[in-house]
């Protein structure tokens, strides 16, 4: 093999090595970025999933059923809203239902309490579905 052929072989190998090294380094960076992105997507997905579970309509329906009591006088449901009216509530019943409502993951759009007498109150709840 003559001098020129040797130089061409060494130069070609060196060039190939440089190109490969640069390509490999870029892929390595891409991989690091994608791995970081994957972790972010996982965290965001879990966050979104938790928020969905917390506020989605299916959960609201289950919770509303748990709030219902014998003092429920009106129970109306449309495609967007659910209206509950409780009447003749004594202070304990009012406290209990209010606590249940405030601790539940339901989208309250209207909450109205009317005290008729010391032992008689009414409560109207409007929930977004």
């Amino acid at each position: 093999m003559n001098r020129n052929s040797m130089l061409i072989v060494i130069f070609s190998l060196a060039m190939l090595l440089i190109v490969l090294y640069i390509s490999k380094s870029r892929l390595k960076d891409t991989l690091s970025i994608n791995q970081a992105n994957l972790e972010i997507v996982k965290v965001e997905a879990i966050e979104l999933d938790n928020l969905r579970k917390k506020w989605e309509a299916k959960s609201s329906t289950t919770i509303i059923n748990q709030i219902k009591s014998p003092k429920l006088t009106r129970d109306e449901r449309s495609s967007k809203k659910h209206i509950l009216v409780f009447e003749s509530l004594n202070p304990n019943e009012l406290n209990s239902i209010t606590n249940k409502i405030l601790n539940a993951n339901i989208k309250i759009s209207n909450f109205k309490v009317n005290r008729v007498s010391d032992t008689n109150s009414s409560l109207q709840l409007e929930v977004e579905i």
Binding site: K28, L38, E44, K112
Partner: protein, 317 residues
């Protein structure tokens, strides 16, 4: 086996201070006269391969060669266990090329009279004084006066000569920047590093594909929208609901903690569209200021009035 030399090159027969040339050209092929190389035929070597004989060439020609030369060797297998060894001093050939004004860059290949003229039966005259003659298979240069037969001028033969494969290239005369062994070690190392990088490259590609698949699985499992923009939009919608509902509850708890005196109570509380209206029964009218100061810490009061011991307030969350 003979081959035709490059017809673009000029063929030159070279002896000491003598150059016999076929024509002018930019490239030259040289045939060295026997006075410029050493020949030996080894007839009973217990070796079969040319490469093995080449390794021993230096010691086989020991005593024949001057001690101060830089020799190159060529070995040709004549028949079983019989080898022709040719050696030449590359420095000597280079200095002769200088004397003949032939630059190394214009040189194509170097041949030997031994190989090129070994099949010629008649003597070949180099000039008026010397001729080439084949004696027992060895082409030798001898004075022409000892030859009685007709000698063919070497220039006549050069014009129709087919060259053998036994040759050296101009590169063999050059001072090498790297020897063959180092070259092969270097290329092997470079090739290994290239292969390692190639393997790493494909491993990274596979890993990237794996990450994409994992990402797709996350999207499927959590039913995520296709774009990050959509994902952010849905997420911000739920975060907004979450914050609004938490705030709403905090306000209701705050109202529930209103410091009331005995006999004081909320007659009415109406929360709708981030507005709260309250009707609060007071013990006495001067309590209104204390209640107002409490409410103003947490609400923006749109209007407030007291009528018949009842405080009516319209507030924003």
């Amino acid at each position: 086996m003979k081959r035709f030399y490059n017809r673009d090159s000029s063929l030159i027969f070279v002896d000491k201070n003598l150059k016999i040339q076929t024509r002018e050209s930019k490239k030259y092929n040289l045939i060295l006269s026997p006075s410029l190389y050493w020949t030996k035929i080894e007839r009973e070597l217990p070796i079969k391969r040319v490469s093995e004989v080449k390794k021993l060439a230096s010691s086989l020609l020991d005593g024949m060669l001057p001690s101060d030369g830089d020799f190159l060797f060529r070995v040709k297998k004549l028949r079983e266990s019989e080898f022709l060894i040719i050696a030449f001093d590359k420095n000597r050939v280079k200095s002769i090329l200088d004397e003949l004004n032939i630059e190394l860059s214009t040189l194509d290949s170097i041949y030997f009279a031994q190989n090129e003229f070994d099949s010629i039966e008649n003597p070949i005259s180099i000039n008026n004084e010397d001729s080439l003659i084949n004696i027992d298979g060895v082409v030798q240069k001898i004075p022409s006066r000892y030859i009685k037969a007709y000698s063919t001028p070497v220039k006549n033969i050069l014009n129709s000569l087919s060259l053998s494969k036994e040759r050296f290239s101009a590169y063999d005369l050059e001072d090498k920047f790297i020897d063959s062994k180092s070259f092969y070690i270097l290329t092997t190392l470079l090739s290994l590093i290239v292969i390692l990088n190639l393997v790493e490259y494909f491993l990274y590609k596979i890993e990237i594909d794996r990450v994409y698949q994992a990402r797709d699985k996350v999207f499927q499992r959590y039913n995520l929208p296709a774009t990050t923009f959509q994902l952010e939009s849905i997420k911000s919608k739920f975060i907004s609901i979450d914050r609004e509902q938490i705030k709403l509850r905090e306000k209701l708890y705050y109202l529930d903690k209103t410091p009331l005196l005995r006999g004081e109570h909320f007659k009415e509380l109406d929360l709708k569209n981030a507005k709260i209206d309250i009707a609060l029964k007071l013990n006495r009218q001067n309590r209104a200021e204390a209640i107002k100061n409490y409410l103003i810490k947490e609400f923006k009061i749109d209007s407030i009035r007291v009528k018949d011991d009842t405080l009516y307030a319209k507030m924003s969350i």
